[in-house]
Symmetry: C2
Subunit: 336 residues, 2 copies
Amino acid sequence: MSSPRTATIADVAKHAGVAVSTVSYVLSGKRAISATTRQRVLDSVRALGYHPNAGARALASKRAKVIALVLPLRAGMNLPVLMQFATSVVTTARQYDHDVLLMTADEGPDGLRRVAASALVDGMLLMDVEMHDPRVPLLRHLGEPSVLIGFPADREGLTCVDLDFARAGALCADHLAGLGHREIALLGAPSVVYERGTGFAERTLAGFVEAAGRHGVRAVTRPCEESFDEVCSAVRDLMDEHPGVSGLVVHNEAAVGHVLGALRVLGKRVPEDVSVVAICPDDVAERASPALTSVLVPAEDVGRQAVRLLMAKLDDHPVPQSTLLEPRLTIRESTQ
Amino acid sequence: MSSPRTATIADVAKHAGVAVSTVSYVLSGKRAISATTRQRVLDSVRALGYHPNAGARALASKRAKVIALVLPLRAGMNLPVLMQFATSVVTTARQYDHDVLLMTADEGPDGLRRVAASALVDGMLLMDVEMHDPRVPLLRHLGEPSVLIGFPADREGLTCVDLDFARAGALCADHLAGLGHREIALLGAPSVVYERGTGFAERTLAGFVEAAGRHGVRAVTRPCEESFDEVCSAVRDLMDEHPGVSGLVVHNEAAVGHVLGALRVLGKRVPEDVSVVAICPDDVAERASPALTSVLVPAEDVGRQAVRLLMAKLDDHPVPQSTLLEPRLTIRESTQ
DNA sequence: CCTTCCTGTCGAAGCGCTTCGACGACCTGG
DNA sequence: CCAGGTCGTCGAAGCGCTTCGACAGGAAGG
């Protein structure tokens, strides 16, 4: 049962009849090795099922080949997107031969410090960055390579990636305005998210308002809680106060379903009476009835891009300070 | 800017005026150290901001203090529960001074092999285990300490944890029968989940049917897809074919909201015409209207318990082969 | 034909930590 | 008062890997 002690590089060297360092150079490609030797070593590696010991490698090379993914896991986050994101980070990292250490934000800045100081990871990916995030100054100070998902207020010296939420908001307004709607509304995140100063919510709103203005369309916006009853009354109030609203943008994944339910209850048909555009993942939009015209949050792209940037930084390649990912609008049945 | 090379154990030893090994013993507690020396060392540790180098520690001690969390990230999984689970795993692991490496199942068995062979992790947690999971034999073979979330068909030599889904199903039936309902129905996971032979769906169903039988109540069950339209027709068909059904159990998180919408569309009032019990996280149940009587999937408990078991195994403590977590029914407004 | 320069390989020196055996110093009991 | 224990500490030997400098041997250049 007990495996016969996993093979070490010395075993491989002996098996191939070469020096330990030669094996290392074959595996890392850092020095030229003749084709025949290389092949012999590779064969031995396979024969013995050799995998380098991660600790030893990290110790000697000062590279752990692990990156940290710091997820928030706080109230008001939308989980499915997060999960998609995490998946794409792991997958992409593996393509670069790196693994992913999962951290939650509740260990706080100390967690970052610990992980950096112990050389457990080579760099980190931080999600759900706020405008005035306490981790940001620490990050600058630590000097660990890092990439942020989201934009803090002061971007100096950082590398940030995000969906271009302003464009997303604008895209929704453009679409509705293009369909001839003259008065449109945005139902956003729960108010707590705005209070926290999470950038993406504000940027969506700004983009929406700006685009509406550009088209000469009246725009109203309000936060949106996530229980059915609260969504219901929010929608009702909105319609009462602004009876002319015929286009609705929903930027709140948990509430999307409830908004449709609320409209049904109020006797509003979609899209005949009200057109609805959601900013959410495609599966949620497709699962709704009618299927929702939506702007996709490209979680996978963001994850992939973030990892790429981090890898570039690890290799000391220069990277742009900000990367904005283009949103994509998919027209389905909920707008006309 | 560049930190002055992070402190090593040698630095601490020098600063405290003791031998390196003494520092190590203070930190690990594996040998008796006088109170005064201990204090001096601890002070130096704090003064220098010392954190042991993870690689070196792993190399020397053969313990990485990292566990792997293998998530599925496949279709039909319900993400929020998964996320809660992941959070509780990370948090609990940290309490045991361990970190968590995130792996997706798509690297497959090779991923497990790699991670085990490279000693990157000391043990693993596998989620979403199927009845005939290909990873199970490998796991037995590798001899890495591991804990499974979910039950494969052959449990021999493994350690498994899960919610007692049979009890959960039974609890729902008990509750409805107790309220006097004589004909009840279970709306389950999408059919693909049953086809995959995922244990939890089948066990819920079995528990539900068994309990209904025990109470002399008629039970009907069917799988349930996740789009609003499909849910709608499933509910309509169900009601047409079994007009006597007055109690509904929904074991499908994504469909819960749609079921309520469907009943609303069909003119059925909840709970006056139909009582509804959901098996889902509390926040989903609370967010619905009316707030749903629900059986909680105690993702946090499962995560915590799984980590505890794994830690016990790492310390060579004996652990039970199966651990079933008791479900808890919360009565809200949707049943009468 | 001899220097100069690659190319391919090797040996050895760490990386920072844990752990084992050794060994004074001190206590205890006969 | 000394044999036999403890207790607290130290030094050194690795753990498995990377990487540096050295060095044969052959190619190229004068």
